[in-house]
C-alpha cells in the first residue's frame, strides 16, 4: 500500500509546484491531525484517568482502567492479584470470530475471485460490479436485512420449512454463526477485490508449464497458483480481519450475550450511567494497539518483499 502511490511522481514532478507543496498538504494535516490524531492521544490520556459516576472523567491519574481489564482484585490491592479473565476472554473471542470470518470470506471469496478473473475481459467488470453493488448498501441496512432473513420466524426458515428440509425453525439468530454471517456479509468484497487483483495478473503460462510437467489441476492450484496469488490473499485477509475485530453492528444486531465482542464492550462504556469512560478508552487503546501491530507487520512484510 504505502510506496506505490506515494512514491510515484516523487522524482518526475516538473517542479511546477515548487515551494507550494507544503501549503497544499497543510489542510490535510490540520484536519486529520487535529480531529483524529489528537483525539486518539486524548483517548490514551483518558485511559489513565478516573471514572466519573455519570459518565465522563475526573482528571486524576489512575491505572484503574487497565487494572480492571487484566486483574480481578487489582494490582495494587492487599491481596495477590488474580487475573480477570472476562475481558481477556472477550478479546480472545473477538479474535476468534474475526479469524473465522476471514476464513469464511477466503473459502468463498477465493473461488469467486478466481472465477471472475478467468472470465472474458469484457465480462469481468460486470461480475465485479455484481459482487460490489451490495457492498454499497449501507452496512446498517445490510446487517438489518441479514437479521430479518435468518430470524426464527424469518423468510429463510419459512423457505426451509416449506421445502421440507427441516421440521422446526433452525435457531440461527443470536448465535456465533449469525455473527459470522454478518461479518462475512459486511466485508466479503474486501477479500474478493485484492484476490482478484492478484489473480488477474496471474500468468497462465505457469499453469501450462505445470501441466506439461504432469501436475494435476488441484496440485497446480496448491503449488503454483496459491503462492503467486498469495499477496492478494494476505491483503484481503487483513482487510477483512481488522474491521471484523472491532465490529459493532454485526455482533450487536445478530449476536447475543454469548457472542459479546470488543465492539459491544466498548460501546457499553459510553452509554448512559453505567458507563466507564476510562475503561472504554483503555479497551479501545488495546484494540488499537493490536490493529496497529498487525498493520505494521503487514507493511514490514511488504517492504521486505519489495526489497527482494
Amino acid at each position: 500500500m504505502a510506496g506505490g502511490i506515494a512514491d510515484a511522481g516523487a522524482g518526475t514532478g516538473a517542479g511546477i509546484y515548487r515551494g507550494r507543496a507544503g501549503w497544499l498538504i497543510l489542510p490535510s494535516w490540520l484536519v486529520i491531525g487535529f480531529f483524529l490524531l489528537l483525539p486518539v492521544i486524548m483517548m490514551l490520556v483518558y485511559s489513565f484517568l478516573t471514572k466519573e459516576f455519570r459518565g465522563g472523567v475526573i482528571w486524576e491519574f489512575s491505572l484503574a482502567a487497565y487494572d480492571r481489564f487484566f486483574f480481578d482484585r487489582g494490582l495494587f490491592g492487599d491481596e495477590a492479584p488474580v487475573i480477570e479473565w472476562t475481558y481477556i476472554t472477550i478479546f480472545w473471542r473477538s479474535l476468534w470470530q474475526a479469524g473465522l470470518a476471514t476464513l469464511l470470506c477466503l473459502v468463498i471469496g477465493f473461488p469467486t475471485a478466481w472465477f471472475i478473473a478467468t472470465r472474458v475481459p469484457r465480462h469481468r467488470t460486470v461480475w465485479l460490479l455484481l459482487i460490489t453493488v451490495p457492498y454499497w448498501v449501507n452496512l446498517l441496512i445490510r446487517t438489518v436485512s441479514m437479521k430479518f432473513l435468518i430470524r426464527d420466524s424469518g423468510p429463510l426458515n419459512e423457505f426451509l420449512l416449506w421445502l421440507g428440509v427441516i421440521a422446526e425453525p433452525v435457531h440461527l439468530i443470536n448465535t456465533n454463526l449469525a455473527v459470522q454471517l454478518g461479518l462475512f456479509y459486511s466485508y466479503l468484497p474486501f477479500m474478493v477485490l485484492p484476490v482478484y487483483a492478484s489473480a488477474e495478473r496471474y500468468n497462465f503460462a505457469l499453469s501450462e508449464a505445470a501441466a506439461d510437467l504432469y501436475a494435476g489441476r488441484w496440485t497446480t492450484l496448491r503449488l503454483i497458483i496459491l503462492p503467486v496469488v498469495r499477496p492478494g490473499i494476505i491483503a484481503g485477509s487483513i482487510l477483512v480481519f481488522v474491521p471484523s475485530l472491532g465490529a459493532f453492528l454485526a455482533p450487536d444486531l445478530l449476536g447475543g450475550a454469548k457472542t459479546f465482542m470488543i465492539g459491544s464492550l466498548i460501546e457499553e462504556q459510553f452509554k448512559g450511567n453505567a458507563g466507564n469512560w476510562p475503561f472504554g478508552a483503555a479497551v479501545s487503546m488495546i484494540l488499537l494497539t493490536i490493529v496497529m501491530m498487525l498493520l505494521l507487520l503487514y507493511a514490514r512484510t511488504q517492504t521486505r518483499r519489495e526489497a527482494r
Binding site: L24, S28, L36, L37, M43, I108, W114, I131
Partner: protein, 282 residues
C-alpha cells in the same frame, strides 16, 4: 496431462468454483432482495406475504414517524453534502501535493496520515472523537457530526482523485509550461479538466460514505439529533417494523444509484485519454 482424451482442457477452470461464485452472489443479494420484497408486503406481520402494497412507503412519508425520519434524512443529506465538499477540496489539494510536487518533505508520513482514518478501527475513531469533543467542550450535535464526517471522508475522496491523477502524464503540464503557461494556468487549463472525472467520482464516494455512516455518528451526535442510519438503528432496536424495510429499500436504491454514478464518472473519459499513451508504448 488430460484425463479426458480428445478434449482440450481449460486450465483455468476449477470444478466447483462456479457454484461457489453463484452461492456467493446469492448470499450477497438474498437479504437485500428479501427486504425489498417484503417492503411491499400488505401485511404488518412481516412473515406472511399477503399481497402487494405500498402502504409502508406511505407510512414512511406520511405516517406517525414520518417527521422524525424526514428530519433525520434531511440531516443526513445536508451533512453528507457539506462533508463531501470539504473532504473533496482537501483531497484535491493533498493529491496535487503528493503526486505533482517533487520535493515534498514527509511524503510517506503524509500518505500515512491521509490513510489514517481507514486504518484506525471505526469504533476507536468513534470513541476518540467523543472523548475529544467532550474534553474541549464542543457540544455534541450537528457540527460534531459534520467534523467527524469530514475526517473520514478525506481518504475516500482522495483515492479516486489520486488514481486519476496518476494516469495523467505530468509531461502535459510540462508541455503547458513550455508553452508559456504559468503554473496556475497549467493547473487550471490542463490538470483540472483532466482530473474532473476523478474529482467527481471522489465526491460521490465521500457523499455516500457520509450518508451511510452509523457508528461514528452514533457516538458523537449527542441526544438531540438523529441521522437516517441512527434513526433506523434506534427503530430496529425496538423490533423490525415494515416501515423500516421501506426506508431501507429507499436508502438502498439511493446508495446503489450514487455508486453507479460514481463508477460511470470515473470511467468517463477513460478511453480516449489513455489511448494516446497506450499507442505510443512500443
Amino acid at each position: 496431462m488430460g484425463k479426458t482424451s480428445g478434449k482440450i482442457i481449460d486450465l483455468r477452470r476449477f470444478p466447483g468454483f462456479l457454484p461457489l461464485t453463484l452461492l456467493c452472489l446469492v448470499m450477497l443479494y438474498a437479504p437485500l432482495l428479501v427486504v425489498m420484497v417484503y417492503s411491499f408486503n400488505d401485511n404488518s406481520s412481516i412473515t406472511l406475504w399477503s399481497g402487494f402494497s405500498l402502504r409502508w412507503y406511505d407510512d414512511v412519508f406520511f405516517g406517525l414517524e414520518a417527521p422524525k425520519f424526514k428530519q433525520a434524512a434531511l440531516n443526513s443529506l445536508t451533512i453528507a453534502f457539506a462533508a463531501a465538499t470539504c473532504a473533496t477540496a482537501i483531497a484535491v489539494s493533498a493529491a496535487v501535493a503528493m503526486l505533482r510536487a517533487r520535493n515534498l518533505r514527509g511524503r510517506t508520513a503524509s500518505f500515512a496520515l491521509i490513510n489514517l482514518p481507514l486504518m484506525v478501527p471505526e469504533i476507536v475513531t468513534a470513541v476518540a472523537s467523543l472523548i475529544f469533543f467532550s474534553a474541549i467542550g464542543f457540544t455534541a450535535g450537528y457540527l460534531t457530526i459534520l467534523v467527524a464526517h469530514i475526517v473520514f471522508c478525506i481518504p475516500f475522496a482522495y483515492l479516486p482523485i489520486a488514481a486519476r491523477m496518476q494516469s495523467i502524464e505530468d509531461t502535459c503540464e510540462q508541455a503547458a509550461m513550455d508553452l508559456y503557461a504559468t503554473p496556475a494556468e497549467a493547473f487550471r487549463l490542463i490538470l483540472l479538466p483532466l482530473m474532473l472525472p476523478g474529482i467527481f467520482s471522489g465526491y460521490l464516494l465521500a457523499f455516500i460514505i457520509s450518508l451511510d455512516d452509523f457508528l461514528i455518528t452514533n457516538f458523537v451526535k449527542g441526544a438531540g439529533i438523529e441521522t437516517l442510519p441512527t434513526a433506523i438503528f434506534g427503530s430496529v432496536k425496538q423490533g423490525i417494523k415494515p416501515n423500516i424495510m421501506a426506508i431501507s429499500t429507499l436508502l438502498l436504491l439511493v446508495s446503489v444509484g450514487f455508486v453507479t454514478l460514481s463508477y460511470l464518472a470515473s470511467r468517463m473519459g477513460q478511453n480516449p485519454k489513455t489511448q494516446i499513451n497506450n499507442d505510443k508504448k512500443l
